[in-house]
Symmetry: C2
Subunit: 380 residues, 2 copies
């Protein structure tokens, strides 16, 4: 093995699709000494974390906790618990992550019915309704609230209402929406939701907050087959996260990562959810003005745009990777590449959580303008 | 919601079954600014991490990487990839974690054949051989190298050799062994192994290093059914951890946790694996002398004992929880309770990684002696 040294990351400004910039207070919280995951002090913090997550998700759901893994494990937890082999699941796809939902359905032995939407557009309620009429056997509807791959925001209240009126539970991906735009789990009657920490919560990646309604828990309790994942079986996780003496060992929680999530959620509550949503919207407006000023257009129609994730078209003839490379090397600025069908066609500019400030907007517009000039001069 | 504040953990000395004490250098590494998981600097660190893990596992296996979740997800990854519905799996159980392996087999649709051993003893090679003779259809043998629930060390080389001679792949749990006693993945020809970070590596919990042999990868490639877990499908994870330009997006890696693992593995290499094993053995000997001096006996026969996890019998009439509570409250010292069949009967005293020092041994013996006197005075 070659000689290795401690890793010293470069200082970056994170304006991609996540992770977003993590505040010094969250980093400091994570660097506190590790204590035991069964320590009474730690157990009290776990209880507070559940309260903080409930407040962030706007829910009273008892089953609200952070899964000890990234958002993809949170996704898998939702599908593993609510789907049994043979179940029909309507999956709305308007980007990469709907496709991942389909994969989850298939791996659980379920039968996916795909509602395919144009990438860069919100999920179509009409198309969902048509699929539900055509498939009365469906038991679950799954959709992505905020498509990280395209920057489109869907109307969760309407989609969940349609699912409910057709007797289906809803699984919602709130990875990029939570903390950046309104997420109302109880208000919209969402049955299962997962998110990530590295987007608008501005906590390092690695945890996936989830929440399940009582209807979802009833479905779980009525299963005829065991949940395919021991780790993700909510009935066992519930015991681990239970308050006080009822607590039972399940796995070893990621202690320091949870310190960070506690601090990040606390910071969000101190700012106020509504204030955070307004901040995301304001900075998005400023970015829009700035980018349009240098001839950059948005992919998503104006009333379906996510304020925290801005997909913009790469101007004709501009070399995608060169510009992103320049931004990273010269300005220490990370923006995101396109994903899936949009690879090479769009950039994804994040204004998430701690990365949603007027300073980030200004830096991005200036740097991108400079990089485009540089690249175009090199091409001339 | 009641008013919440930043969480400030008490300072503890961790001598339970994990987490162990985390060094300031690892905590500091984790508190470095988060960068993007696709940043070229981060990708270089991921490559180094794979090299460090290979050195720690003593393997050349290409498929060696940290799963983005705790040891239980590492366990699930091994079973999910190597077992198809209907496969017969011989599971050696000599404690709690063999039972969890059985659960994993069942959830993957496999048929477990249990080799039940006495808790507190090593796995019996004779019993395993008998089971293999009785079940020629078996395709996998699974065992726990170091049983965290009992402190027993099994003879991995012999068990893996038996499995091989009967045409089976081996899955080994090295959660508590890695870094504390010899683990020789290539030398013993282990096909799949998982570990945790919070034991003898002294990195906070939340990651699970795994390694898979070429034979295991061949088995995976020959599967007739998809891996039940999208997240855990090694063929996809392999793409994410591939070097350089071949890398493909899978999930968002837990950036800061990986900083910590990199630093912890580096520290272990700096000390040298053999030196670390010797240190664990020496401190175990000192603890044995100290505890026997105050009338505390070990559960496991001397030649099957783990140096890093010491299961000792709770003396007759001594109230388990009171003593552990006193140790925690008065001495800030955490030791572990018994688990499963050993609950209330044993304490588990860890001397793992950074917690394996002469100072820890002295503190433990003195504090335990004082606590026992205090409790016995209260009872009198």
């Amino acid at each position: 093995m070659k000689e290795l040294h401690s890793f010293a990351p470069p200082t970056r400004i994170l304006m991609g699709p996540g992770p977003s910039d993590v505040s010094p207070r969250v980093l400091a919280a994570m660097a506190q000494p590790t204590i035991g995951h069964l320590d009474p002090a730690f157990v009290r913090m776990m209880d507070e974390l559940k309260d903080l997550l409930r407040a962030t998700y706007r829910t009273e759901n008892s089953m609200t906790l952070p899964i000890s893994g990234p958002g993809s494990i949170g996704m898998e937890t939702c599908f593993a618990n609510l789907i049994e082999p043979g179940d029909t699941v309507v999956v709305c796809q308007n980007g990469v992550f709907g496709g991942r939902m389909k994969e989850n359905v298939v791996r659980m032995g379920g039968v996916p019915v795909m509602v395919e939407n144009e990438w860069g557009r919100a999920v179509s309620a009409e198309d969902l309704e048509a699929a539900l009429i055509e498939h009365p056997e469906a038991s679950v509807v799954a959709f992505v609230h905020a498509e990280t791959s395209t920057g489109a925001l869907s109307d969760a209240a309407t989609l969940a209402g349609l699912a409910r009126s057709h007797g289906c539970l809803t699984i919602m991906d709130a990875v990029t929406s939570l903390g950046g735009v309104p997420v109302e789990i109880d208000g919209w009657e969402i049955d299962a939701v997962y998110s990530g920490t590295q987007k608008c919560l501005s906590v390092p990646p690695g945890l996936s907050p989830v929440s399940f309604s009582e209807k979802a828990m009833d479905r779980l309790r009525a299963r005829k087959t065991p949940v395919q994942s021991w780790f993700g079986d909510l009935s066992l996780l519930d015991g681990y996260w239970a308050a006080g003496a009822k607590r039972s060992y399940h796995h070893t929680a990621p202690v320091n990562a949870l310190y960070g999530l506690h601090e990040g959620l606390l910071a969000l509550q101190e700012e106020g959810l509504e204030a955070a949503w307004a901040r995301h919207r304001e900075n998005h407006e400023a970015l829009r003005v700035g980018l349009e000023g240098i001839g950059i257009d948005f992919v998503v129609p104006v009333d379906e745009r996510l304020p925290q994730l801005n997909a913009v078209s790469i101007p004709e003839g501009v070399p995608d990777a060169d510009v992103r490379g320049l931004l990273l090397e010269e300005f220490n600025l990370e923006i995101g590449a396109g994903l899936g069908a949009l690879a090479g066609k769009v950039w994804r500019i994040g204004l998430m959580g701690t990365s949603s400030t007027a300073g980030h907007v200004e830096l991005c517009v200036k740097s991108l303008s400079a990089a485009l000039s540089r690249v175009s001069a090199a091409q001339a």
